[in-house]
């Protein structure tokens, strides 16, 4: 399993991601829809209410998903591509977008899980296309952002901030 070292998301592709998430949020009446990188970083977050601790939520959901894939391996399954977490008031449905991203839908009891499954499949298909474009474009776009000046400024900031 070869892993990418970087992923660069342009304005244009983030717009495409946001449009997909927004449509999914609207059509499912979910409370929140998120796109995470499998490393736990939040790429985009859409919702009716602003969620607190979205960073921690991303880390935990990605951790839980990564952990479930290890369970799959132990059971001799190729993988588990979705996780459904059911609560008293809210439910979370997480599904894999290729091997790179996680689409997360948080919804309440007024939304049927079947609808979430079907519509998230459609959204995933669209996100797979976005991901392919992002991968193809990453190295070209990276050079426009990560240059000597940037690295030097970050190093200075690290020296300034990472100390007692």
């Amino acid at each position: 399993m070869e892993q990418l070292s970087n992923l660069v998301i342009s304005d244009h592709e983030l717009e495409a991601i946001r449009a997909t998430l927004s449509k999914l949020l609207h059509d499912t009446s979910a409370s929140t829809v998120m796109l995470l990188d499998k490393s736990g970083q939040v790429i985009s977050n859409f919702g009716n209410g602003v969620r607190r601790n979205v960073t921690s939520l991303g880390a935990l959901l990605a951790g839980a998903f990564s952990s479930s894939r290890q369970v799959a391996e132990l059971l001799g399954e190729k993988d588990f591509r979705t996780i459904f977490q059911q609560g008293m008031h809210e439910n979370i449905y997480t599904t894999l977008v290729e091997e790179q991203w996680l689409l997360v839908i948080v919804f309440d009891k007024l939304t049927h899980i079947g609808l979430v499954k079907v519509l998230s499949k459609k959204a995933t298909d669209e996100l797979v296309r976005v991901l392919a474009r992002v991968k193809a474009d990453t190295s070209r776009r990276k050079t426009s952002v990560i240059n000597v000046e940037f690295r030097s400024s970050v190093e200075d900031t690290i020296d300034l901030l990472f100390r007692d």
């Binding site: 070292s5 992923l7 998301i9 983030l14 880390a59 391996e73 990276k142 970050v154 901030l161 007692d164």
Partner: protein, 191 residues
């Protein structure tokens, strides 16, 4: 895997602290949390057992603020060190941009350290990464304990790649930030 979001002007990097049980991974993060400027850090999250052993991971987000037009964030994770959590360690390693290997310097822990670094190398190969070409630093922790092995011994047997290594007493903060600075810079250099 570093995520560079041009649209929102954000860069995210993931750093994982790896090592055997009780080597001081969580202590490193706790010290950073306690000592760093509170404006930089987010909430620290620990998924631990009732006896405070790490069950899944610890998580500490750090935000450098806007540098050269990009908001740069480092997310620090620890793995659970106990042997039975090997699969969980692999799960947490997924998507890492840099690794700190925390060594318990005590002589009686030497063999466990050797096994742990061999496990890490195996996992990195499974993830398609070569530890020899990856942001990676060592920390010789617990230097204050009487049975701590000499640094040159640790260096010879545990640091075959001759990566940067730092002496530390994480419980009192010695070496904690030197280690964090080194791995952060190494991650940025590899972006």
């Amino acid at each position: 895997m570093a995520l560079i979001n041009i649209a929102t002007h954000e860069i995210h990097c993931k750093i994982v602290y790896y090592g055997i049980g009780y080597c001081g991974k969580t202590t490193n993060l706790q010290y950073v949390y306690k000592s760093i400027n509170p404006a930089i850090r987010g909430e620290m999250l620990s998924i631990a057992t009732e006896t405070e052993r790490t069950l899944f991971f610890d998580f500490l987000p750090l935000d450098l603020g806007t540098v050269h037009g990009f908001r740069t964030r480092f997310h620090l994770y620890t793995v659970p060190g106990q042997i039975l959590y090997e699969r969980t360690r692999l799960a947490v390693l997924n998507g890492a941009d840099g690794i700190v290997f925390v060594v318990d310097s005590q002589a009686e822990k030497f063999e466990e350290n050797v096994q742990s670094i061999a496990e890490l190398e195996m996992y990195m190969r499974r993830l398609g990464k070569d530890l020899g070409h990856f942001p990676f630093v060592m920390q010789w922790n617990k230097r204050d304990l009487p049975s701590a092995l000499p640094v040159h011994v640790l260096d010879r047997y545990l640091n075959r790649r001759r990566v940067p290594a730092f002496e530390a007493v994480a419980s009192s903060g010695v070496g904690v930030f030197a280690t964090l600075r080194a791995i952060s810079k190494s991650v940025i250099a590899q972006l």
